[in-house]
């Protein structure tokens, strides 16, 4: 399923927590993704392990602590990022159903505590530990939410309130208050074991005094660390942004502007340059679509872009599904190039549509134009393009090339190539 990125680079794959829609801390779904197992299995395993002496809970907490939150710097295309920063894209919408898992978990947790009580007997430590665990989980969850907010933050400054409260929504306050309250309650329940309220209060106050004392001692260090981190981050972000934008502007836009200035009188050239630049900028800003030869869709976009540049006619490529691009699939891409070139050259229309559907079993490509069309039956023998490069080529490699054309209405070329067996399983 997610094997492609592993092969793409030499970086080792790292397990991360999945913060898209976490139920508790996103550990299970992150782990499931890393191990390529169904998330249900992992969840069941955690629950079973939790029932067996609490190992699952310890393991979960350990992973929550150690695994980095997923996709911290998983970046979208620059245009999209900028739109997100500017609040021009829709944010996440919370629905009431999001609360469902939490309710279920709470019910389960209470059930577990009662079961344990029935088995182990009325252990005096059980309740405080259970309550404390829930409190800590809530606080950690809040830390995750706040962290997510910080990634979206562009000021680069670390605002102490923001570090703790994140987006300052009611949910943040609720989580924070509930978490602190539960921990306080746990301490209180623990202290109440002796039976005397005054002793319990003393113990609780002592505990809080201890916490506050530690806060005073460590506070200045944390504050200084945070401010240093802030400066460093701000500087790094600025440098990177400047470098990115400068490089991109220089590489593409300036080049194109220079070329346009050289050919001010040639409308066709100017239009072509503008179109190529538009495609380039759009891909860079919004889609991040590649045109290299890593996957079939990307290779198809690549050849279409080349034809676009060569003939100055927009080629719209729509792909459904994708798979790795191998030697076995080269014929269909080559035939596509031929078909698109033919359409661009002979159809006499301002636009060509390419549609590719890549399924587990085959690759289908349709190249369509609404141009003048021709009668395939009377194509002269010397028109090598059609006969040789498209139909014969597809047949040689076990595929089918089919041309439907009506004079005056346009032409559509359909290329069908079964996928080699060794490539199966990579498609999605």
């Amino acid at each position: 399923m997610t094997t492609a990125p592993a092969r793409a680079g030499h970086e080792p794959r790292r397990a991360t927590r999945d913060l898209h829609e976490p139920i508790i801390g996103g550990v299970a779904s992150g782990l499931a993704r890393h191990l390529a197992l169904p998330v249900l299995w992992i969840r069941v395993a955690f629950v079973v392990a939790a029932a067996l002496g609490g190992l699952g809970i310890a393991f979960y907490a350990g992973l929550w602590l150690l695994l980095p939150a997923g996709e911290q710097f998983e970046t979208a295309a620059p245009g999209l990022e900028s739109a997100s920063r500017g609040g021009r894209r829709p944010g996440r919408i919370r629905r009431l159903t999001d609360v469902g898992p939490i309710v279920v978990l709470a019910a389960l947790g209470i059930g577990v505590v009662f079961t344990l009580e029935a088995i182990v007997g009325r252990g005096a430590l059980l309740w405080p530990i259970a309550i404390g665990l829930v409190g800590i989980a809530l606080l950690w969850r809040q830390a995750d939410e706040a962290q997510r907010e910080r990634w979206l933050d562009t000021t680069g400054r670390i605002d102490p309130a923001r570090v703790i409260l994140g987006d300052r929504g009611w949910a943040s306050y609720a989580r924070l208050a509930a978490g602190l309250g539960l921990i306080g309650l746990a301490v209180l329940v623990f202290a109440l074991r002796s039976g005397s309220v005054s002793v319990a209060l003393d113990v609780t106050f002592a505990a809080f005094a201890g916490v506050i004392g530690i806060g005073f001692v460590v506070g200045p260090w944390i504050f200084r660390l945070a401010s240093e981190l802030t400066d460093e981050r701000a500087e790094r972000v600025r440098t990177q942004e400047r470098a990115d934008v400068a490089a991109h502007l220089h590489d593409s836009v300036l080049q194109t502007l220079a070329l346009i200035q050289k050919n001010p009188g040639d409308a066709a050239t100017v239009a072509r340059l503008a179109r190529a630049q538009e495609r380039d900028l759009r891909a860079w800003l919004y889609v991040g679509e590649s045109t290299d030869e890593r996957t079939v869709a990307s290779a198809l976009r690549g050849v279409s872009a080349e034809v676009e540049d060569a003939h100055g006619i927009p080629v719209d490529v729509v792909t459904v599904g994708d798979c790795d691009f191998g030697e076995g699939l080269r014929p269909v891409v080559a035939a596509t190039r031929e078909a698109v070139t033919n359409a661009a050259k002979h159809a006499g229309v301002p636009r060509v549509d390419v549609y590719a559907e890549i399924t587990a079993g085959a690759v289908d490509v349709f190249v369509r134009d609404r141009g003048r069309g021709f009668d395939p039956a009377v194509t002269p023998e010397d028109r090598y393009g059609v006969r040789h490069s498209i139909i014969d080529r597809m047949q040689r490699h076990g595929g089918v090339g089919e041309i439907r054309s009506t004079v005056g209405e346009g032409t559509e070329v359909h290329l069908h190539l079964p996928r080699p067996a060794d490539q199966e399983g990579n498609g999605e």
């Binding site: 999209l80 739109a83 609040g87 021009r88 894209r89 944010g91 719209d316 399924t359």
Partner: protein, 220 residues
């Protein structure tokens, strides 16, 4: 006469669309107002009661989705005569496009669309039909792909029928409605019915995959 409000944060683009609509759509389409962000858009819609709102996907104040949400819940909004929304965007990011459709837009076209095509899209949307550009059809096929054998809770909403799939495929191949009808030997009305039902599925399906599909897609 179809009343239109143009919502886009680029003044230059608004001016361009207005000029195009006034030139190519004289007598058919009337531009009532323009708006540059979510609040202005909600105001303009409440004030002018357009039939169709041309809505940019990326908009200051929470995006086009926010406009649709606020217009629907605007105090005193006439429930009987809410405008239809047509998303018009330069961003081809799948999650934004699908998100806007799920937010209530009746169609999606890219900003490179020609004037006459835009006017026919506006007309279609005003009549309550759906407008699918080839790219949106591709996204739809992608989103509903490969999970046919999965038994879901609400099966009808979670998959496309074979016919709907065929229609989507032809749209993705660049066929116009008329050509789709001819190719499949069905009437244009039937094509429109199929498109509306695909749109409904796209908006109502609670398929987990559909919500996550767009963001996961990047990782595959």
């Amino acid at each position: 006469m179809i009343g239109v409000v143009i919502v886009d944060d680029h003044a230059m683009f608004r001016r361009g669309v207005r000029a195009e609509l006034e030139a190519a759509g004289a007598g058919v389409v009337k531009v009532l107002a323009e708006a540059a962000d979510v609040d202005e858009a909600v105001q303009a819609v409440a004030e002018h009661r357009p039939d169709v709102v041309l809505l940019d996907v990326h908009l200051p104040g929470g995006g086009g989705v926010e406009v649709m949400r606020k217009v629907a819940s605007y105090p005193g909004a006439p429930t009987s005569r809410l405008p239809q929304f047509l998303a018009l965007s330069v961003s081809d990011a799948a999650e934004d496009v699908i998100g806007t459709i799920r937010g209530g837009a009746r169609g999606y076209v890219t900003k490179t669309i020609s004037g006459p095509e835009l006017i026919s899209a506006i007309r279609r949307v005003a009549d309550g039909d759906a407008v699918f550009s080839p790219r949106l059809a591709g996204f739809v096929l992608d989103a509903f792909a490969g999970t046919i054998e999965v038994a879901a809770i609400d099966e009808d909403l979670d998959r496309l029928t074979e016919r709907e799939r065929e229609v989507m495929r032809l749209i993705a191949r660049g066929y116009a409605y008329k050509e789709v009808a001819k190719e499949l030997f069905i009437s244009i009305k039937t094509v429109e019915t199929h498109m509306s039902s695909v749109l409904r599925k796209l908006q109502l399906s609670s398929r987990h995959e559909l919500a996550r599909w767009a963001s996961d897609r990047r990782l595959l």
